[in-house]
Amino acid sequence: MRESVSPYLRVLHQQMLNSLAKLMSFRLNFVLSMLFDLAAFVTFYYTTDLLFLHISHIGTWSRENFLFYIFWIQSVSCIHAAVIAPNFWNFAAEIRDGNLDFRLLRPLGSLFDVFTAMTRPVTLLTFPFIFGFVVYYGILLKVSITGWLMMPLLWVLSLVCVVLLEVMISMGLLWTKGGDGINFVRIHCQQFQRWPDFVYPSPMRWICTRIIPFLAATTFPVRAVLGQGEWWEIPLLCGLLIVVWFVTRSLWVLGLRRYESASS
């Protein structure tokens, strides 16, 4: 196991170093990337704060509950934006230009290579800051010891689920020609996850927690940490994660059969 994982970690480490070197050679871009993360943080925080100037609860959640949830998602997005996110547009461009061929020929898992080829390590700098707020609001909400102990595992579960769902959506790129539409849908799905499941009407909530776990990916782990979840929520999410992985693998294999390799 260790021997099979280690080359991937080494490649990821090298990709990060390359991206960092590139970023540092354009220093203004480095500063702008930091500003971008800061702007996302400020606007999401202020939107919630503005809402809670006028109301005390949304559903059963207070301001602190909501901010805990928002910073949880922000911290997941941080790692997602650093390692995975830049590759979705690149994937579309590589299919269009036929450059995907080169990735398929490399002695690495092709899915791994496609979705880690480009990284944005600057985003990792804001991670401790944002996760600090998760801890701060966790303390305010008096998270139990079990909640704190489960937090790292549940956070990783959230991240894996969010990433895998987006990778599954992006498999649609192998069936379309432009790529913008699928990426547009993917970005809109991220917005969908920024709010907990109870704000959505029940049919939509049911589908997005029990069939395609868009909402379960973020809401279930947060509820489990806060001690508000049902016993079946996390096992269901793990089960759905396995299903999503198999669907993604199957779509990838089927999509590659359709791939025409534009440059060849």
């Binding site: 500003l35 939107t47 809402l51 699928i182 809109h188 939509m204």
Partner: protein, 268 residues
């Protein structure tokens, strides 16, 4: 404008239209995704918020008014915040701008034609969306005067958005990546234009400050025009908007001239 010049505009718009429509699945998804997200997020969140409070009003908005405001905000977003001059920065960075500099049709006119073509498609989309919102009772019976004035005003605001986006695109003469400017601006535009939370719910000091910026024009003012509840005179709003468009247009023109001096036509 000579007949020959009009012909060039018409042809460029027509080519842009064909290009947008070439990838039909993409085009369809780009229309459907925002509509679905609007219904799923904005509409449901505000409904949940009002239901959690047991009704009443927030800063003068009843639940019904807030849901109508969100519908109009969505229509305005389709018309105003839809077009992106993504390719301008790419053309500058990869040296493709050279071709546009050699054409007998100014580069900015090419991008403006693309914008006009996209707006023509968006107008069709908006008509379909308005029909659907009315059919499913998301909106009350439409006031044709308010709708026509709102559409005209929103199209004028879309020119402001185009000029802002074009100006950000010109930063590619100096910078490697300019998408960050656009996305940061979009974050603040969504928040401060009242796209999700109406400006009336902001603290008074912030409301006063925003009145001196173009943000309210991006959603709040046109949405209130559509609703027939605008507190500002249409003429003064139009004059101020034209002032912003003119001012930013001058900035874009200066940046364009200075940027061209730096342009190295990479790849040639």
């Amino acid at each position: 404008m000579s007949r020959r010049e009009i012909g060039k505009w018409r042809k460029t718009i027509s080519v842009s239209l064909s290009r947008y429509m070439a990838f039909k699945a993409d085009f369809f998804l780009m229309l459907v995704a925002p509509s679905f997200v609007f219904i799923a997020i904005n509409y449901n969140i505000w409904r949940t918020i009002f239901e959690s409070r047991g009704g009443g009003s927030i800063s003068g908005f009843t639940m019904e008014q807030m849901l109508h405001y969100q519908c109009w905000s969505f229509v305005v977003a389709l018309l105003v915040r839809s077009h992106r001059t993504w390719n301008l920065s790419e053309h500058i960075r990869l040296g493709r701008l050279t071709a546009f500099l050699l054409y007998p049709f100014d580069a900015w006119k090419f991008y403006a034609s693309e914008f006009i073509a996209f707006q023509l498609l968006q107008l069709t989309t908006v008509v379909l969306v308005l029909g659907s919102l009315r059919y499913f009772d998301f909106l009350p019976p439409l006031n044709s005067d308010a709708v026509l004035v709102g559409l005209a005003f929103s199209l004028l605001v879309s020119v402001l958005w185009f000029v802002i986006d074009f100006t950000f695109g010109l930063a590619a003469f100096w910078l490697e990546e300019v998408w960050i400017f656009r996305v940061i601006f979009s974050f603040f535009a969504v928040l401060f234009s009242g796209a999700f939370i109406p400006i009336e719910l902001f603290p008074p000091a912030l409301q006063q400050f925003l009145a001196y910026t173009p943000f309210p024009f991006i959603t709040s003012v046109p949405a209130h025009i559509f609703m027939g509840t605008s507190g500002v005179s249409l003429w003064s709003a139009t004059v101020t908007l034209l002032g912003w468009i003119g001012g930013l247009g001058v900035c874009a023109s200066i940046l364009w001239r200075r940027g061209l001096r730096l342009y190295s036509a990479a790849g040639i």
